[in-house]
C-alpha cells in the first residue's frame, strides 16, 4: 500500500514517556476486526484515550490541545507485544509520520517502516532532552532528517544521528516497499524454490 515519501520532517511532537507501550495499548485486539485498512486512527490508544462511555479522558496526551504534531515520542521498549501491523496503521492513520524512542521492539520497527513511519532510535540521554524540551515548550519543533540521518531539537540546535540500513532508507525516501523489490526477482525465487526439500 502506497505511503507518503519521507525525507525531512519538521514538526512539534507528542510526548508519551511511558515505558513498554505495547501494541495491545496502541490498538486493542477488539478493533482488529476490519477487513480493510481504514479508520484505525480513531481507535489509536483507545483505552487510554476514552472512558467507557466514549467520552475523551482529559488527562491523556492525545486529548490535550497543548500537544500536537507528526512526531510521537515514546518511552523505552515502544511497540512490544503482538505483531499486529494494525498498531503501525493506527499511528500512521492518526497522522504521525515518525516515532522516537530509546528502544523499539523488533516487529514494531519492521512494521513501521513497511507502512511509511520512520522509527528513530535515540540515546536515553537525548530522549530525556526531548521530553524536557517539550515540557518546557509544547510547541517546540524537532527536525527529523532522513537523508542525513539526524534528529535535531530546533530551539537549541542539539542533534543526534540515528541508524537505518541503506536499503530501508532508499525505500522510505522513494515510497517503495519490499514487495516491489521482491516481485522484481521472481525468477530467482522460483529457481530457489526448486531446491527446497519440502
Amino acid at each position: 500500500m502506497a505511503y507518503e515519501k519521507f525525507t525531512i520532517l519538521r514538526s512539534s511532537a507528542v510526548p508519551m514517556p511511558n515505558e513498554n507501550v505495547d501494541t495491545d495499548q496502541i490498538i486493542p485486539a477488539r478493533f482488529l476486526k476490519a477487513t480493510e485498512r481504514k479508520g484505525f486512527g480513531d481507535n489509536l490508544f483507545r483505552d487510554w484515550r476514552y472512558n467507557n462511555d466514549n467520552t475523551p479522558k482529559a488527562d491523556f496526551v492525545l486529548n490535550m490541545p497543548t500537544y500536537s504534531g507528526k512526531i510521537l515520542v515514546g518511552g523505552k521498549n515502544f511497540g512490544s507485544g503482538s505483531s499486529r501491523e494494525h498498531a503501525a496503521w493506527a499511528i500512521y492513520d492518526y497522522g504521525f509520520r515518525c516515532v522516537v524512542s530509546s528502544f523499539f521492539a523488533d516487529i514494531f520497527q519492521n512494521n513501521s517502516i513497511n507502512v511509511g513511519i520512520l522509527p528513530v532510535q535515540v540515546s536515553p540521554e537525548f530522549l530525556e532532552k526531548i521530553f524536557a524540551a517539550i515540557e518546557a515548550n509544547p510547541k517546540t519543533e524537532l527536525e527529523v532528517n532522513l537523508p542525513t540521518q539526524t534528529i535535531t531539537l530546533l530551539a537549541t540546535g542539539e542533534s543526534e544521528s540515528f541508524a537505518i540500513n541503506e536499503y530501508k532508507k532508499h525505500n522510505l525516501t522513494n515510497g517503495y516497499d519490499d514487495i516491489d523489490y521482491l516481485l522484481s526477482m521472481e525468477e530467482e525465487i522460483a529457481v530457489f524454490a526448486e531446491t527446497r526439500p519440502f
Partner: protein, 469 residues
Amino acid sequence: MSTPQTLFDKVWDAHVVRHVKDGPDVLFIDRHFIHEVTSPVAFLGLEGRGAPVMFSGRTFATADHNTPTLNQHLPVADLLSANQLAALERNAAKHNISHWGLGHIKNGIVHVVGPENGITLPGMTIVCGDSHTSTHGAFGAIAFGIGTSEVEMVLATQCIMQPKPKKMRITVNGKAGKGVLSKDVILYIISQTSASGATGYFVEYAGEVFENMSMEGRMTVCNMTIEMGARGGMIAPDQTTLDYLKGRELSPKGEQWDKLVPYWQTLKTDEGATFDLDLTFDAADIEPQITYGTNPGLGTGVTHQIPMADTVKDGSASYKKSLQYMGFAENETMLGKPVDFVFLGSCTNGRIEDFRAFASIVKGRQKADNITAWLVPGSHVVEKQIKDEGILDILTQAGFELRQPGCSACLAMNEDKIPAGKYAVSTSNRNFEGRQGPGARTLLASPLVAAAAAVTGVVTDPRGLMDNV
C-alpha cells in the same frame, strides 16, 4: 575444516535467496500460516497490485482468533467477526489455499494445528501474521511472527526481507523440580531477562531441561520466547522430535522421510560455534511461577513476595503503574490472593499435556464457587484426545465445562472477555493491560497453578495438592 555453525545459522543460511547490499537478506519461506485477522488486508493489497499467490501449496489457513468457543455450529453472531471469517474462506478458495475454517475437523489455533498435522518440520522457515509463530521453533525450525505487509509479501513472492538477528543461547542445566512445568521454565527465564532483554536476538535453547522435555513442553517454551523481545526461539531436533512427527497426516512418508532424517540429524549447533550472548540457568532455582504485573517479565515464584520497586530493572515509574493497574502493592505475598477467573488454553498451554496436568490436580476435587473457568482446547484434535482419555469426565465431575477450540480469552477478540477489575489466572502468554478484556487483570501461570487456583479460589502452590496423584 569449515567454521563451526550454530543451528540457527544452518537453517537461516539455507534459505537466503539473495543478500541485499547494505540491507536485509531475502529469505525463502517454506511454510506460511494465515488466519482471519491479519490476512484480509494482505489479500486486498495483492489484488491492488494484480499479483497472484506464488506458491499456494505453501500457505495454510485456519480460523481461530475471532471464533466463538460455544455453539460453533450456529452462524457467528458478531457481524465483524463473521465478515473476517467469510473473507478468509473467500480468499483461500480464490487462491487455492487449504482452509480449515470454523467447524472443520482440523480447525484450531494455528500454532497448535500446524505441528499436530505434521505441517511444521525441522529445518524449515515458517512465518505467520501472529507473534507466537515462534512456537514452531520447538521443531528446529526458524519461525517468527510477521506483519500484514509481510503476509502480502509471502503470498506474492514466498519470501520476506529480514536482517539476520543476533544469536543467543539459553542453557538450563539440571532437572526440573516437583510441579515445575515448561511454562514455569520460560516464565522464570523471562523474569530473569525482562520483557525486552532478548530484543534483536534469536534464541537457541540447550541443556538437560529441554532435552528431557516433550514436544508440547518445547512448544510452550518457544512460544513465549517472543515475550522477552526475541524474534523467536528454537531447539535442535532429536529423537523426541522425530517420534512426534512420524506418521502425522502431512509429515513426509516412506522414502522422503528416510531421506530427510539424516539431514535433520545435522541440525544442531557445532562444537565451538559462538553466540553473541550465552546465558545459563540452573533448574534447581525454578519453582512454579506466577506473574503479578502487566508484562510477562514481571513474574516470580508462586511462594514469593512482589518485589520492591527499587529492585526491578524496568524502571520504577512504569513498575508502580503496573502494580496499581493490578491492584497489588510491593512486598505483598502472592499466595492467597483472590482469583475470579481461570483460563486454560491458548497456543501456549492448550495442548493435551496441559489438560492432563490440569486434570491431575482437579481430579477428586471441586471447582471453587467463586471461580468462573474457561477451559478451551487448542484444536479439535486436542478436544478429541481430552474425551478419549477420560479427562473430560474428570473435569465434569469436578464441576468444569469444556468449551470449543480457538484463541478465546488469550486475546479476547471474541466474547470470552475477563470483566474489568477481575483477576484471571491464565495459562496464556500475555498479561498486558486489557489483553484479556478492558480492565482485566491477568496472572500468567502454568496449567498446574491454574488448576490449583480453580479448586481453591485463590493463588495456591500446586505442589501442596500433588500428593494424591
